[in-house]
């Protein structure tokens, strides 16, 4: 992580909601697994399995796909129940551009807000101004320009979009590779070229320059969308993700507690095939999954947001 300047403050007076506090929170989640849960019982299973955080939502993405209709922020009662049930951080989703849902989530005391393409977007032009909040935001991205635009709006953590609710990791792989390759390309640029690169990426020059110098995003990068097995999670980490979100993959499988613990193990020892092999034994049925190339354009969540 880049070292951010301390926020100006009178000596000794505590400052909340600073970039260091928001981005630093995500740094604490690194190497871990964040699991989608729909009630307190699932949240406890996730915590017992070693999740670093849970994402509270009414329906996992696989069910949102199946049910159709408009997907919105979850019921505050359900979010509060989950907050009360576990001691690990609790995240929740707002629709893209729906800053009032985000205000509600902040008032409930969630630890991170996911401005998520899995829900139906509320604004087709603007994402929420994330600097206006004390609660940090994580946002999805399919490429470097998109990641930097979200960071410019105040996102303190980035995740790949993947194609949530499919149980198919192919899109998350595409997005992570894309982000990684674009960062590697920037590393080779001199100062003259960075201005044009910023224009191509449609991202602020200062952020582009920072990425070129760091060789990584200035915030934590996780993978999300389509992870269903321990090997999927390890694959995302070997491709450069600093941790993984698992949505439908756990609680849509045959034995959620066992699969959750197995994915946690494989995420920690992502570079040790023996550990991944052991974690993969006798997990029962994985979620069935959907082939992304048969998914109509209108049902691709990754196209939401820009």
């Amino acid at each position: 992580m880049s070292t951010l300047p301390s926020t100006p403050q009178s000596a000794g007076s505590p400052a909340t909601g600073t970039a260091r506090v928001k981005r630093g929170m995500a740094e604490q989640l690194k190497g871990g697994v964040i699991m989608d849960v729909v009630d307190a019982e699932q949240a406890k299973i996730a915590e017992d399995a070693g999740a670093v955080a849970v994402m509270a939502l009414e329906r996992v993405p696989a069910d949102i796909r199946k049910d159709g209709g408009v997907a919105r922020m979850s019921d505050p009662n359900m979010i509060e129940e989950i907050i009360g049930a576990v001691s690990i951080p609790v995240m929740a989703k707002s629709r893209i551009g729906h800053f009032v849902e985000a205000q509600v989530l902040q008032s409930l005391g969630v630890d991170y807000i996911d401005e998520s393409e899995v829900l139906t977007p509320a604004d087709e032009v603007n994402h929420s101004d994330k600097f206006a909040f004390t609660t940090p935001f994580v946002c999805g991205a399919t490429n470097l320009g998109e990641a930097l635009r979200r960071i410019a709006e105040g996102a303190a953590m980035i995740r790949s979009k993947g194609e949530a609710g499919t149980g198919n990791v192919v899109e998350a792989v595409r997005h992570l590779r894309q982000i990684k390759n674009e960062i590697a390309r920037l590393r080779g640029f001199d100062n003259n070229e960075l201005y044009a690169a910023a224009k191509d990426l449609r991202a602020p020059y200062e952020l582009v320059k920072e990425v070129a110098e760091l060789g990584k995003l200035p915030v934590v990068l996780f993978s999300a969308g389509g992870v269903a097995t321990p090997a999927d999670a390890a694959l995302m980490r070997q491709l450069g993700a600093e941790g993984v979100f698992v949505g439908s993959g756990i609680f849509k499988s045959g034995d959620p507690a066992k699969r959750a613990a197995a994915i946690v193990k494989a995420t920690t020892f992502y570079d040790d095939p023996k550990v991944i092999a052991d974690a993969s034994r006798n997990l029962g049925e994985a979620m069935v999954g959907i082939n992304c190339d048969t998914l109509p354009e209108s049902e691709r969540y990754a196209n939401r947001g820009w």
């Binding site: 000794g12 630093g24 190497g31 871990g32 001691s87 630890d111 946690v264």
Partner: protein, 197 residues
């Protein structure tokens, strides 16, 4: 060369990378530690920030808990930040069922004592034994120390709560110096490792 200490960072989960960078800039050799054989090689160990429940679970699962306890008991210098502080406590006030610690510091900690993420904050912290003014304290869903035993020295407080302690070769802070450019806490720890090496 031989007096450059080799310091491990427990790499089960958490902000490992930031500690490796901070230790390197405090003139130590730093490397991640996930296995007992890697632990056996280091002169000292940092337990990073992260989720304490996840970390203790993984430590137990991968056979690290007993080796960690053995090395801390026999005097290996150890420094825990945030979740690392919780792992070094002899007792947790409100543990998750089955949450185990490594121990090493005679203290009782309260997890997430400063509140949820909305209450996470930065503040200037004066630390006993660290010269040059207060350190930049970044507190994230941070614990505090409820009480300490007779042999545990309180080296920093914030708002009336204990946020940094030391007991012989063990050091712990509620806050995260690794998230700042101020590496004086790491320098203090590297000196502790040098002293026993």
């Amino acid at each position: 060369m031989s007096d450059t200490p080799l310091i491990g960072v427990l790499a089960l989960q958490g902000d490992v990378r930031e500690h490796l960078i901070a230790l390197a800039s405090a003139d130590a050799l730093a490397r991640p530690v996930r296995r007992p054989e890697e632990l056996a090689e280091v002169d000292g160990l940092v337990i990073p920030g992260g989720e304490s429940t996840t970390m203790s679970k993984l430590a137990a699962l991968f056979g690290m808990l007993e080796p960690l306890r053995a090395r801390v008991r026999t005097g290996m210098p150890v420094y825990g930040t945030c979740a690392g502080m919780i792992l070094l406590a002899e007792k947790i006030l409100d543990p998750r069922s089955g949450q185990e610690t490594v121990g090493g510091i005679d203290m009782i900690v309260r997890r997430n004592a400063f509140g949820r993420q909305n209450e996470s904050f930065e503040a200037a912290i004066d630390v006993v034994g660290v010269d040059g003014g207060p350190v930049e304290g970044v507190f994230i869903r941070a614990p505090w120390v409820e009480s300490v035993g007779a042999d545990t020295e309180v080296i920093a407080e914030h708002d009336g709560h204990i946020v940094a302690v030391r007991q012989e070769n063990a050091l712990a802070t509620s806050f995260h110096p690794e998230l700042t450019g101020d590496h004086r806490m790491h320098a203090l720890f590297v000196d502790m490792v040098r002293a026993v090496k």
